[in-house]
Symmetry: C2
Subunit: 427 residues, 2 copies
Amino acid sequence: MDVVDVIRTKRDTGVLSDTQIDWVIDAYTRGVVAEEQMAALLMAVFFRGMSSAELAQWTAAMIASGERMDFSSLERPTTDKHSTGGVGDKITLPLTPLVAACGGAVPQLSGRGLGHTGGTLDKLESIPGWRATLSQAEMLTQLRDVGGVICAAGAGLAPADRKLYALRDVTATVESVPLIASSIMSKKIAEGTSALVLDVKVGTGAFMKDVEQARELAVTMVELGAAHGVKTSALLTDMNTPLGRTAGNALEVTESLEVLAGGGPSDVKELTITLAREMLRVCGADSGKDPEDALRDGSAMDVWRAMIRAQGGDPDALLPRARHTHVVNAPDSGRLVRLDALAVGVAAWRLGAGRARKEDPVAFGAGVELHAKPGDVVQAGQPLLTLHTDDEERFSRAIEALDGGYDIAAAANGFTPSPLVIDTVGA
Amino acid sequence: MDVVDVIRTKRDTGVLSDTQIDWVIDAYTRGVVAEEQMAALLMAVFFRGMSSAELAQWTAAMIASGERMDFSSLERPTTDKHSTGGVGDKITLPLTPLVAACGGAVPQLSGRGLGHTGGTLDKLESIPGWRATLSQAEMLTQLRDVGGVICAAGAGLAPADRKLYALRDVTATVESVPLIASSIMSKKIAEGTSALVLDVKVGTGAFMKDVEQARELAVTMVELGAAHGVKTSALLTDMNTPLGRTAGNALEVTESLEVLAGGGPSDVKELTITLAREMLRVCGADSGKDPEDALRDGSAMDVWRAMIRAQGGDPDALLPRARHTHVVNAPDSGRLVRLDALAVGVAAWRLGAGRARKEDPVAFGAGVELHAKPGDVVQAGQPLLTLHTDDEERFSRAIEALDGGYDIAAAANGFTPSPLVIDTVGA
């Protein structure tokens, strides 16, 4: 097989054969196909797309590049969630113990953040002692004993995706529906969950800027899940404004704890409960317990504490706080009608909460705290945002990122909030 | 400057700024932009094209990546030719001494072959003792004393092109008009010629399969030449059938000597004279000698012998011959109406005349000899082609390549030959 022929086939609108796809993914994983060759193929895929059959084969080849986990020995049904990434999206943190408290087993393999969206592992690593790396045996034990686990995907899981993801990031080939779909689904299918709920974010702070793009991605992934025997559904949810009132690692853990304690911002609470019900529905768990009750009676918090302890963390430890804060005040009086997710995400990133390169560390205490959300009436001079950082020199570029990121209008005009959950696919 | 932004700009139809172009070519040449990043950018250029202004800047940046030669101290005007590559295209061999014999100075920097088209240096290296590598001082002396030089381009000339060319070859990004044009023109402009005639091949054995594509490439290159102060014109010439009666290194040298001796196949002779006249016209040489006379009176042959000697070759040495031959006979009687250039080119390549990878050696004696050309009447069983190789096992795959590569029709039907020179651009 000649890789140049494979690239040329895709480039010239040709559809790749199963044999070509299996070969190119395997050869790339083994280093026989060079990075520059795969980069050219990915850019050709960006322009030409993939048919459903091609994409199913491409995803299967990515799964076949590594091991596939098996949790069928568990008594409880496995169910998982994946978010395409947003600003302030800490939902995995309260959601995993919540679903476990209601009878599901949640094998959540998560990643680290890159760019303006945070990573679940980065958030959890702000908890002293907590470790992200578990063996497969440890995962299985924790799922059996606690019901939920959030940990790093092992190197043996879809290694093709690991290479492809790093390559796409440096070659401007991230924003392609088949490449996004195969990346997400290969990992989730290899992870061995029996059911999966996708949270596809739409808006300024998300990869998908409009609903039609997001729907296309959602439909593509739901079909891919079905093709591989994983019961899959998807929600399209709003990401024009940050979720909750914090963006940043330790800040988001604190907010997640508020939700687990029965409080927390209404949007975080609503999305956590909606996703929990959907995860339980799709996997067919029937403990009879509703997520809202599990937040109220403390059972979700109990699972959280057990999860953190099982991975070496101290659920009672003080979380890291940034050394410096800077308050951004409302410039005018009126109603906050827009607070842009991307602006807040980039600001948090520049404050140290995110990383520019995979190797960079994150600052656990850094981030942005929101004192008002769209719809709220504010007074001129009242605190709008608090910026947190360990390095005072970072304030100026974070403030630059927020420039033009919010609008205050006459309070009398009223305000119609956009729905948090826009649509459901494949329910 | 962020290379991912540069790739994304091109990918999303954006036009690259001069600063972006200068930076990305320089950074790639220095190894700061990685191969996979340039591969993605090249594939985006394949899909999005380049504006005239972008292409002029891109080419200027490629030239600026190395040194630019200067032959302005010569008394004679410099003039050069470049062919986009075809099967049996040995024209550079008789053409260079011919133009020198008529008053031009020809600084011909050539390359080695890759794929089914042969390289001029490979052909000349079949002459015992001849060396392709000259210093700039040696080139200048030979141009002054002999009038013509064919040698390898030094590593200092458009090094960006050297890297880009190798990368395009392995990433299926060869067939892009702006990338082809900038590759050819950056080398030719850096080479320091004052005038340039392009032989843009059209047909099955050429990169450009149709006339409109070829014309677009020709116009693009003529404009690029003008933008850089090089008087440039282009011929579009037929490459549906091989040029002359040989394809292969030593076989083509022998045929070139026939032309220099006043004979040779009519198509090779016609194209050599046409290109010579155009090269002399464009550079404004006025020795008063016509190329046809210089072939007849032996003066072009004299320059050839001086050129070969000046580079260590023995013009009287016996040329290498392949160890084995195999004759393909005409299967039917009638008129040969089609003999496909690509089929013959691939057959010659498989016999050992060409290389699959840059590092491969070529077999000097290998190739294909044509005993009939389109329009000729043949009898069943009469020799049509002779295949030459050092390795008998190569015959079967060469014969496979020729399968379907020629048609014999009823002789009574007559035959209208296609014109060799299809059009002239920018004369």
